[in-house]
């Protein structure tokens, strides 16, 4: 959606495209849980259309319904008519925010601190990450947990405390030089997006991504300080900030000077490919945004597109693959990660039942709707157990964390990894 767009001002044919056939219903996790049409994509679109028609005002009930939606986009895959649900959903959440239907002083503070401050100031976000790292690395967190201090917190915060991810000692800019060149002949020039959560929690995966690109003849350009891509803002009803972040991103990575701009986080990728829509009415950025959309590639999509080199290093492991919603539904990338996993000698790919069913991470959903998120996490972990593997691969930091926590809760001897990291390891093993 271009910023400022509302359900009422939206091109009406996007709403009309839904012919209410109902084929989205069985793929929707919240309909599956409730069997209530209101909690289905078809039902939600009917509410959006009622608002566009002026038959319904944005109400608290409407706002709650939109935050109950995971935004997993499984409905888009199921839809025979090609409804652009992501567009509708983001517009609807923005309408809800504008009308302030969920407004609450504490909510305002949390949103202000995160969306408006931390996730628009990458240096401050890193600072916060560093403090958290200190707290964890110094043993203070362990001590606090041993002393049972989290029990003193209110319920909600206690749950959040348990979800705190382990922050890495080094962030992306400490692991990746601004420009790195392949040993062999340069075939492509690629920009690497390091992400926000990915940067603090999975900087090693960013390093793996750079390594894999280098091994395939790509010059890797990684600006040390990168803004958030704005997906968090767009998904949470703040399109204006999202548009601002998109402009900053385009300024930082001039799309004309790259063959591809690569991301390894599915949630970011799904949003990054829509800058064109977000900046549609912008006289300065609209054209560059369209070019940007063409250049943004998920790492796995890019590797398969350029014909990545089959690794020779052997990883003897049975691995299953969980499909991040914003990769399989949001970007329709399903074949490439499997192709990468299958290319690794010794690795046996075991298909995961319901591999495209949301794990409950869904951006910040596990924080905003813990109950539903927990049920989905349990369902996912159950399926992972049924495959009897020791490694589950996925390519999104949210899913990675959500599934890790779910596995830890069951004290499972299963580890979460990412296809690109497994590939990087297979390349490294060649040298041994």
């Amino acid at each position: 959606m271009s910023s400022g767009e509302t359900l009422a001002s939206l091109d009406y044919s996007i709403l009309q495209q839904c012919m209410h056939c109902g084929l989205c219903l069985p793929t929707c996790p919240t309909y599956d849980a409730t069997k209530n049409e209101q909690h289905s994509p078809r039902g939600r679109i009917s509410l959006m259309r009622a608002i566009a028609d002026g038959r319904l005002a944005p109400t608290r009930g409407f706002g709650e319904e939109m935050s109950y939606c995971l935004g997993c986009l499984a409905c888009e895959t199921a839809c025979p008519a090609g409804v652009d649900y992501a567009h509708l959903f983001e517009t609807a959440r923005a309408d809800g925010e504008r009308a302030g239907v969920l407004d609450h002083p504490l909510r305002r503070i949390v949103r202000g601190l995160t969306l408006k401050f931390l996730f628009t100031h990458p240096r401050c976000l890193r600072m916060a990450g560093r403090l958290l790292w200190l707290y964890q690395a110094s043993g203070l967190q362990k001590l606090a947990r041993v002393l049972g201090l989290p029990r003193l917190l209110p319920n909600r915060l206690r749950e959040l405390e348990a979800l705190t991810p382990i922050i890495l000692a080094k962030f992306s800019h400490q692991l990746i030089a601004p420009v790195e060149n392949p040993k062999e002949k340069r075939r492509y020039r690629v920009g690497l997006l390091t992400g926000c959560v990915q940067d603090l929690v999975f900087a090693d995966i960013n390093r793996d991504t750079a390594d894999v690109l280098l091994a395939n003849g790509c010059e890797v350009v990684t600006p040390p300080v990168q803004p958030c891509c704005g997906s968090l803002h767009a998904h949470n009803g703040d399109p204006e900030t999202a548009a601002g972040m998109a402009r900053r991103m385009i300024d930082l990575f001039n799309p004309a000077s790259f063959d591809a701009i690569v991301t390894n986080a599915a949630g970011c990728g799904s949003h990054l490919k829509n800058y064109g829509r977000l900046l549609d009415g912008d006289p300065v950025y609209a054209n560059r945004a369209r070019e940007w959309d063409r250049k943004v590639k998920d790492i796995q999509e890019w590797l398969v597109e350029i014909g990545f080199r089959t690794p020779k290093g052997v990883i003897r492991e049975r691995v299953t693959y969980h499909e991040a919603c914003h990769l399989c539904h949001g970007q329709k990338i399903t074949r490439q990660p499997r192709e990468i996993l299958r290319s690794i000698p010794g690795l046996e790919l075991v298909e995961l039942p319901e591999s495209t069913w949301c794990c409950g991470s869904a951006g910040v959903y596990n924080l905003t709707q813990p109950e539903t998120a927990m049920a989905l996490q349990k369902r996912k972990v159950g399926h992972i157990f049924s495959t009897q593997v020791r490694v589950v691969a996925t390519s999104n930091p949210g899913c990675h964390l959500q599934i890790s926590i779910g596995l830890a809760r069951r004290q499972a001897d299963v580890r979460v990894d990412q296809p690109v990291s497994l590939l990087a390891r297979a390349y490294r093993l060649e040298k041994d």
Binding site: P26, S46, L47, R55, G61, P80, G82
Partner: protein, 463 residues
């Protein structure tokens, strides 16, 4: 007729424990079904979890004279489950259990909210087969299938939902519960009442349980795709196959408009200048399938198929079927409003009917793609239009009227598998005659004297 006082409060008081919803955000999602354009807000939506709760709702409805529209997943295509003014929606989606699979008697018993796909899967798990496969089977409920007597792609060889219903539990207006039918293949004790409820579109009673017949699955299948320059040639192929005493399980066609839309959407290499594509499939004993497939290939070539492809294995069969499977999706993307119809004619009149639909489309300046079941004469003329364009919607209506009229003239019907509901009510008398509708009214009044069950659907009580 407005309810005196607070309807939902009275409903909650009258039906203890029942889930009742009445907020605008809760009602809007239940104000329509799968039919284009039709919409009506209900006074309340209730979710029954047991036959007993359905009984309490129908008792309350009779006592307070409040109409009830029963609904499963709301995928109907004739407005059968669109609410009525002042009425309540009785949703059975939460009554979705498979109760029994009886391998000795080849039956399956389920609550009416069970999904068709779940039933099909449960049969498969027991090594059996439930053949009806309506297009919405992934989400349609078995109760809805029975109430609409749904068809599907396998009609010619395997029949429709009616052919698999052995028994029903039905709650009547006023709350009385009956079982009609049983696990016996033969049973002539009195009127076969279950047949009355099949295809009754929720106007005679609320189906709460279904006893279904299962059959052994076919051991082998073979799939072919033939391309024609002329729809007549495709139709002649079908007639010749049936004259050769072969009953294929699938004989599906696409017309020129549909072929082009599919090619634009799926890019699977269909010839854009073809007039017809025929997807054929035979199933059964492997030896019989081999023989039949060879005969069908020969017949298709003799009748002028310009190209013909036979799938060597399952994956190739799936790829041949892509054209037909994407037909509706491809058409649905072309225009904001998609209206899917189901006029049906005797098999031998099919080419004439398809030609007529193309002419009508031209005459009224409309885009109509036609695909469907060539084996059983069930067509799906699909109008690609925009409900906001009033002038065009008038032309759509005029075209539909002509199409239904012609179908009846050719000895066919206004609806092969979608039902009458609201959308085709005004065409019913023309199709079946006044006498038939008069008898339907008398049956309706005998079972639902106050007209509380899905009133105003199929026909009006007063002529």
């Amino acid at each position: 007729m407005a309810f005196p006082g607070n309807l939902t409060a009275a409903l909650r008081a009258g039906c203890a424990g029942l889930e009742v919803r009445d907020q605008p955000e809760e009602l809007i999602p239940y104000s329509f079904d799968g039919t284009a354009v039709l919409q009506q807000l209900p006074a309340a939506v209730v979710f029954a979890k047991s036959t007993q709760e359905v009984v309490s709702v129908l008792r309350w409805s009779a006592l307070n004279k409040v109409p009830v529209v029963t609904r499963g997943s709301g995928t109907g295509l004739s407005g059968g489950s669109v609410p009525v003014p002042g009425g309540i929606v009785l949703c059975l989606s939460k009554m979705d259990k498979i109760l029994e699979v009886d391998a000795a008697n080849l039956t399956l018993r389920a609550e009416s909210g069970a999904l068709t796909a779940t039933i099909s899967g449960a049969a498969e798990k027991a090594g059996l087969f439930y053949p009806p496969d309506p297009g919405s089977m992934k989400i349609s409920t078995i109760g809805g299938n029975v109430a609409e007597n749904s068809g599907g792609l396998r009609g010619l060889k395997y029949g429709v939902t009616r052919d698999y219903v052995m028994g029903l539990e039905v709650v009547l207006s006023g709350g009385e519960v009956i079982w009609t039918g049983n696990k016996c293949v033969k049973d002539v004790a009195g009127y076969t009442l279950r047949d009355l409820f099949i295809g009754s579109e929720g106007t005679l009673g609320v189906i709460t349980q279904v006893l279904l017949k299962l059959i052994p699955p076919p051991a082998a299948r073979k799939t072919m795709l033939a391309v024609y320059d002329d729809m007549e040639k495709a139709a002649h192929t079908v007639s010749a196959i049936i004259a050769a005493k072969i009953i294929p399980c699938t004989l599906e066609f696409l017309d020129r408009v549909t072929i082009r839309c599919v090619e634009d959407y799926a890019k699977i290499g269909l010839p854009r200048d073809a007039e017809a594509i025929l997807l054929m499939e035979t199933d059964g004993h492997p030896a019989a399938v081999e023989m039949e497939a060879a005969a069908m290939e020969k017949i298709a070539r003799e009748n002028g198929a310009r190209s013909l492809k036979t799938a060597a294995h399952a994956a190739e069969a799936a790829s041949l079927a892509t054209a037909r499977r994407s037909a509706f999706s491809a058409l649905a993307r072309v225009a904001p409003t998609t209206i899917l119809e189901d006029a049906t004619v005797p098999r031998n009149c099919l080419p004439e009917m398809i030609g007529f639909i193309q002419e009508v489309g031209k005459k009224h300046r409309l885009k109509i793609g036609t695909f469907g079941h060539m084996g059983d004469g069930n067509l799906h003329p699909t109008f690609l239009t925009d409900e906001k364009n009033r002038d065009e919607m008038h032309r759509v209506e005029a075209a539909m009227q002509e199409i239904f009229h012609r179908a009846v003239e050719l000895g066919g019907t206004i609806t092969g598998e979608h039902g009458v509901g609201l959308a085709k009510k005004k065409f019913l008398e023309g199709a079946v005659g006044r006498e038939n509708v008069a008898i339907m009214r008398r049956i309706k009044l005998a079972l639902d004297p106050h007209g509380l069950l899905n009133p105003g659907k199929i026909f009006d009580l007063s002529s």
